[in-house]
């Protein structure tokens, strides 16, 4: 009987063991993600707010035919849509989306995926900014640090909204993080705020930046961060769009008088070797660099606009050949304007040597006539990704530079009757370009804006602001419709997701 007894004891222990196994580890099923920081855990990191601020700057790297802030699709909406550039590349490349953007054909509708890339890219930036602002409020930084970070993030949020309002008009005004999925589903996130209300938010954010950000070069500043001059310059530009010329004049004047910025004597240096990045003329530019991950740049910004192999071929080309400077832009340059050959790569019957020594073969081996020289990266002289990957060549991109501040000041000055300031500003720009002064009329200033800022992703917004997009573009055979094509269509998918609460732009 002893053996049976032992068996039963064993049996009891097995049963006790098996049923108590779970209860002794009560949190057995509570497993947190390994190696990933959850949003709850993030709140316990004192440096999280700083990381999130950097994360908002990182939003400027969106592009590469995916969600886009200042990449090739933004170039489609600003250069290609304007009279400055044609789609480029081969006939079939990027058709039909880019054809819709180039010529305002029926392919420019809410289903054109380019519009949702721009919409999503900028809203992604805004959401990142809202997240950073929320965590900044909770952070334990000292007052000044906190205000500076908030100023930077609000500057960036204003930049994203400025893009959106110019691309689409009034858009949903989202200035906070939704509390949960139900909140995210509320009307606030689905309905368009009036255009003026968006501009008010932009001005509000930028004014905060003007008030809180340090001047360029102050001890705490870092190259690449938004500073007071950047906020003032962008706000001046916003006021120009608002036709508030006095404020545009005052703010641009303050930037000029701050003596922190100047025109660099050689125009080309703004767009050439990396050693000239962040030069004296730079006010705010997208910073790029080379890291082991090769991810510190806007993807395909350079490659998409690079010269493309064609015809007989036989060389290693530089890109997809999109965004070609137009004949109309070529015609705009006055004889002797130094900026012409700095802005445009002309492919000649013989080979073309670029500034870093790269040789593009003759026209019969190249796809297009002209390429954007301002988006060219000197691979032969400047460093890039260690693996040799060229998808993200570290090309800094100018958002606003001092030359534009001068042009804003000139235009605003002219509008408020200060012709002498306008003449001074304009002459500075022309002098550097190797040109003689001309009287500062509005058309002279607008001409100067075009050639000075050509292929820098601004022209379409500019001619819409100047209320002459229709006249200019129809003259080139584009089917631009007044009262419709000043803005792009709202992505149809977003309208569908809003259950029809998001209203499409007029005419689309």
């Amino acid at each position: 009987m002893q053996q049976e007894k032992n068996s039963y004891k064993l049996l009891i222990w097995v049963i006790i063991g098996s049923f108590s196994m779970v209860s002794c580890k009560k949190d057995f099923l509570d497993v947190q993600p390994q190696g990933q920081i959850t949003s709850e855990a993030a709140s316990s990191d004192p440096n999280i707010a700083r990381k999130l601020v950097t994360g908002v700057y990182n939003q400027l790297y969106q592009g590469g035919f995916d969600n886009d802030v200042h990449g090739i699709i933004f170039a489609m909406a600003t250069d290609v849509a304007s009279d400055d550039a044609d789609k480029g590349s081969t006939a079939l490349d990027q058709a039909p989306e880019a054809i819709g953007f180039d010529n305002f054909t029926s392919d420019l509708d809410g289903n054109n995926f380019y519009v949702s890339r721009l919409w999503n890219g900028n809203y992604s930036g805004i959401a990142a900014a809202n997240q950073a602002l929320e965590k900044l409020e909770q952070s334990k930084f000292d007052h000044i640090t906190k205000r500076t970070f908030i100023g930077e993030v609000r500057f960036l949020r204003a930049f994203f909204y400025f893009n959106l309002v110019r691309l689409f008009g009034g858009v949903p005004k989202v200035l906070r993080v939704p509390a949960n999925l139900a909140d995210a589903n509320s009307d606030e996130f689905k309905t368009r705020a009036p255009k003026d209300s968006i501009y008010a938010a932009i001005i509000n954010d930028l004014q905060y930046g003007v008030d809180s950000l340090p001047l360029k070069g102050e001890a705490t500043t870092q190259v690449g961060r938004a500073n007071k001059g950047a906020a003032q310059s962008l706000l001046a530009k916003v006021y120009l769009y608002q036709q508030n010329y006095q404020k545009a004049y005052d703010l641009s004047r303050e930037v000029i008088l701050s003596n922190k910025f100047a025109l660099i004597s050689d125009y080309s240096k703004n767009f050439r070797s990396k050693i000239y990045d962040n030069n004296i003329e730079s006010i705010f530019e997208i910073q790029t660099g080379t890291n082991a991950d090769c991810n510190a740049a806007v993807p395909f910004y350079v490659v998409s606009q690079g010269p493309r192999v064609g015809g007989l071929g036989g060389w290693s080309d530089l890109g997809f050949g999109l965004n070609n400077p137009s004949q109309d832009l070529v015609n705009e340059y006055e004889p002797g304007d130094l900026r012409d050959s700095i802005t445009i790569i002309y492919i000649g019957p013989d080979s073309t040597v670029l500034w870093d020594g790269f040789v593009i073969p003759a026209r019969n081996r190249v796809e297009n006539d002209r390429y954007n020289y301002k988006a060219y990266y000197g691979r032969r002289t400047d460093t890039y990704c260690v693996t040799g990957n060229t998808d993200r060549l570290p090309k800094n991109i100018h958002i606003i530079r001092y030359a534009e501040v001068l042009l804003i000041n000139a235009e605003a000055a002219l509008q408020i009757g200060n012709a002498s300031d306008a003449f001074t500003d304009l002459s500075l720009i022309r002098q550097r370009a190797g040109l003689l002064p001309v009287p500062a009329t509005i058309s002279a200033i607008w001409h100067e804006r075009r050639v000075e800022l050509a292929m820098e992703q601004d022209r379409f917004f500019d001619i819409v602001r100047q209320r002459r997009a229709g006249t200019l573009l129809r003259a080139l055979g584009k089917t631009f419709v007044d009262g419709k094509n000043e803005v792009f269509p709202i992505p149809q998918s977003e309208i569908d997701l809003s259950g029809g609460k998001l209203i499409q732009n007029n005419g689309y």
Binding site: E4, I15, S18, P33, S39, Y123, R225, Q287, G313, E494
Partner: protein
Amino acid sequence: MNYFLPINFKKTILMRLLFINTGIGLLLLLSLQLSAGGPGLKVNEPVLDITGKVTNINGEPVAGATVRVKGSTAGTSTNASGDYSISVPENGTLIFSSIGYEDMEVQVNGLIIINAVLRPSTKSLDQVIVVGYGTQRRRDVTGAVSSVSGSEISKQPVLTATQAIQGKVAGVQIVSSGAPNSAPSVRIRGTGSVFSGADPLYVVDGVITTDIRNINSADIASLEVLKDASSAAIYGVRAANGVIIITTKKGRGGKMLISYDANVGIREASHLVKMANATQYATYINEASVNTGNGDVLIDPATTNTSTDWFSTILRRSFQQNHNVSISGGGEKVNYFFSVGYLTDEGIVINNKFDRITIRSNNEYKINDKIKVNTLISYSHGNTQDVNLGSAYNNAYHAAPTITSKLNGKYGNTSAFQNVGNPLLDIESNNNKYKENRLQGTGYIEIKPLSWLTLRSSYGVELGFNNRKIYTSQFPNDTTTFIVTGGSQQNVKSSLFISDEKNTRWVWDNTATLQKSFDKHDLTLLVGTTAEEIFSESNTGSRTDVPSDPNLWYLSQGDPGSQLNSSSADKRARNSYLARLNYSYNKKYLLTATYRADGTSIFTKSWGYFPSIGVGWNIINEGFMADQKIFKQLKLRGSWGRLGNDNIPSSARFQTLLTGLAYSFDGTIVTGASLLDVIDKDIKWETTDESDIGLEFSILRGRLSGEVDVYKKQVNDALINVRIPGVLGDPDGILLTNVASIENKGIELALNWNGKSKQVNYTLSGNVSYNKNKVVALNGGQAIFGGFVGSKGSTTYTNNGQAIGEFYLLQDEGVFHNQTELAGYINSLGNLITINGQLPTLGDLRYKDLNDDGKIDDNDRSKSGSYQPKFTLGFTANVTYKAVDVSVNAYGTIGSKIYNGKKAARFNSRDNVEASVAEDRWTFANYASDVPRANLNAIPHSTYFLESGNFLRINNLTIGYTFPSPMLSKYHLSNFRCYITSQNLVTFTKYSGFTPEISNGDALGQGIEYNAYPTTRTYAFGINLTF
């Protein structure tokens, strides 16, 4: 030995148990009540020592047959000669059993020599099959369970057991790639999930796993496929895609058996696509330049002197071998099985290779009549030399035949001529080694304190240590590498990538099984708990500029400035309670009820509950069937149950910080973070409700038997992407959540014929199954475009009312043969129809303007069929004539579509085309052709590239010869068979590509032949030796 205990004693024990756990206590108490009147064995009877021989009806010894004493656990097994010896009570009864034979009972009645002649089991009604957490007799099963014996599996020269059951089980579609060490895709009763994985759950010796490539097929005793909810629901939240149970061999009592099984063979691609030769290519491309380019002569006709066949450059006839040695046997206290296996599979692509060593030790220790301990330990070590098949195949398909592959150590420079990279260089510049080590161990103790109670506690662990090392050589695009300079194919810096992976898993199962028969009632009750924890971790690092000497392929070498490293890890835990009741009344009426409660760490709401019920009616046992002579077996069964699929990433319910977001300040790159992912924190398992009705029969005195099943599987709460507004800033704009419903409906039929004449024994078995897959509701989920090919976008659309991954294409109507057809290409308003904005010309493909808007664009796509076959067929014949055995196995599918993606994708204007495309293209001379004119560009995705995937294949043909025993005894051999075998001997298909069986790609685009490994054909010679 006393098997009998006073009832009051039992009651005391059980009352104590009651306090421990009310649930199990009640169940035990219930059993107690049932057992109170049950019979017991008498004690102190005289015992006889009996010996004998077990043979089959052909007089051949049956090795490994079980001989046991009725009503006791005492038993033994026959040795290789069929001999046994056992001690039995004088008036006892011996039961002889062996898989594939009917059980036989013999009254001892004082005999001391008992020879048994076993009859082959007709439909193996008494066969014991393995079900989850236990076994069942085939006749008592109420669910749809298919069983394949180990000998059927090890017969085929393939890597995994699942490949070997292709065509043998109705309702199971297996698609395997010919690539060495690739895991086949297995679909049991259709594809049930888009995002949670559609592969079944594997259970090896009771331990749940997801990959069985470490299991040596020669070690497998049997494989069971649990297809319906009644049988699979015991695995609850993970059983929705069906369950495959593998049981490895155990030792049996008796003489030590040593066997050696080996085969050696060669493999080759069973079908290759013929590409255009240099002359055809030059003609095509230059004509295409006139048609769709600027008319330049792109290919110099002088370069057509050499013609490179790129596929023969990168493919080869390869060697394979498989050797297995096993030692098994046992005695009174210990049964043992030990095996070592070695397998080599050189792929048919150069530089590709796989070899594997497996070691297994399965031991059983009988501590006494009531306690058994089992240990099952296996180790496998795999070495894979991988090649990048994607670029190798794509490039070989598109590479210009006018370029030499390699000459005097220098490569032909295809990319310098606006062509793809040189595929040979692709392969030779890349060294990708993967080493796998997998250790699986399970130990369990089984206690039978009472004749009707079995307690079992099992603890299993699995450890995996894998290492991948990829070295890419440096090669510039100048004449140090190539015959001529230029092109985009270059690697400016050598690079080394190393990944170290570790995974561990433990699972602890505790079950109690109560088995009781009284009067006409048979009752089995299983209750149990299981807990499990799974952890995996991988650490990766890379550097550039690492020297080419393999001894220096470590991360200490190379450029420290280029180093990248990262870690990822995953941890999940599960805790479950399970119960199953099997009840049969008078062997006529059967009931199976199961219930499993699963707690899973990956969901916020951890617990899910999965019930099932199955009923069966053994009509044959009814009185009214007693006089009929038609049926030997007739059973009707039906089941319903609920299953789950929790195969989602364990972090899916958490919003996690996206880190490593770079930005440059002061010229220095720092990294930031974002919190942008919008997640559903209440994400949960997918739930499948499945119903099944089946009929099993056997007629013509058991010669013909069969099984029919009709089922419907509805997956609710299927994971699907829901689009969310871009305003919320989510990086991909989608939220993964449980809203869709997917349905699979089907019929399965399996038939078996057992034939016999004087000298010939044969069995024929065939099966056919039909399945229809459909998304029945998206419920706000997003219809998904998938199957992206080349530059022309998606080819499939998964939408309401369509199959998962259904093709969604422009409808091809042939080419424009003449001007009349061009002029007649108008819509109902009489407007000429444009194709992507341009008017078509002669020789262009013509598409249906479905929305009649006068332009062909994406809006004219429509559903065009699915990659999922409607019918799956299998046929097996085994014939034995004297010492010769022949077996044939065929497999096929009907009703699937394949998108010829490689043909549709053109990357560069000078990509090569298939010989038939070059030859048959539309020209003015060949104006009746329906092959489009020569074109430099890719043309839109349309049904032109969609082909029927129907095929029928002779999967395996084996001819064996077994040497007669007298010849062998001289050499102490008990068995010697040699055979020749061929895997995938011949395939009948109209599909023009490499293979109609595509196993790569996700559920949304699996039927696209893009860079599929060609089906390989194997010829092998093998032997089976037993000492």
